[in-house]
Symmetry: C2
Subunit: 178 residues, 2 copies
């Protein structure tokens, strides 16, 4: 997963994967099938890990606005200080996956939808706590947040500049107030 995330699908060779896993080719094929299949399993793992984190943090913290602010801040920290320029694995997949690979595209779509779902749930909870306007369209807001995070991480990959990313996050957060 780390290798695919860092280098992308095409640029990752089987030798890279063998090095990273410590397995030989035959064991790798026996355990995971071919390269594409391993890629999809990696993405699946990434989504499982990441989504769980999102869900936990949004569910335990309140108010939602503060939880999201926290969340975005951590993203920015990771982008600026972390093992940089990897972007979001989901986003990288969305960009690189060949158009005709429907299964892979479906998995990316599902990953995005899953995150959107967690945001939606947190927004609904916040709305029922009275944190949001009664007219707030939580579905649309969730979609917006999921999409904007992709934008944030993509921009952050190309330009990991804290001030830039904080500007983006600040405007994002303002969208919650209607």
């Amino acid at each position: 997963m780390q290798v695919f995330w860092s280098k992308g699908y095409d640029a990752t060779s089987l030798d890279d994967l063998c090095d990273a896993t410590g397995l030989s080719r035959s064991s790798l094929y026996a355990a995971f099938g071919d390269k594409r299949s391993l890629m999809l399993q990696s993405l699946s793992r990434y989504v499982d890990n990441g989504s769980e984190k999102i869900a936990k943090r949004l569910a335990t913290k309140a108010p939602f606005r503060a939880a999201l602010a926290d969340f975005l801040n951590d993203f920015i920290d990771a982008i600026v200080a972390g093992p940089g320029r990897r972007g979001c694995f989901i986003g990288n997949c969305a960009a690189e996956i060949p158009r005709h690979d429907r299964e892979a595209m479906a998995q990316v779509r599902a990953a995005l939808a899953r995150n959107e779902g967690y945001f939606r749930a947190a927004l609904d909870a916040a709305k029922s706590r009275g944190e949001l306007s009664r007219k707030a369209d939580t579905a649309a807001l969730a979609r917006f947040i999921a999409s904007s995070i992709q934008g944030l991480r993509l921009v952050g990959k190309a330009n990991p500049d804290r001030a830039l990313l904080e500007d983006i996050a600040a405007v994002m957060l303002r969208c919650l107030d209607e």
Copy 2:
């Protein structure tokens, strides 16, 4: 440019490029240098075309809010109905380019900055026309719009669903009202 945009860098072979240009290998190399160089020139061309379009449309139409709405609508049309699932070439590059390729990353960064600049100019003009709150931070808004468009196009690539994208665009537009 079309081929790189559709297939990505690694998945594009020189044979693809020869087919697309109608040139033979030697002519291709004579005209554009090696593959990477041609890729960068393609990106440059994409940005020149695209940015000009952005600038023109934002400059001639007013109010800004309507111009942006129009703009987003066209994006959505293109994503939903167009020769689908190509995403934004800039975004694709940001995702696929190897991290260590500083020159390429710088070009992507410049491309994003250029778009951001056009939004900024249009926002400033709108502000001076009194369309925006006097406190509006046009720099931050421009950064946000540039980033969100990347998000929109990425999500649209994975899931070209009009309702989804219109939700995202609607929330984006609301960020202009403070």
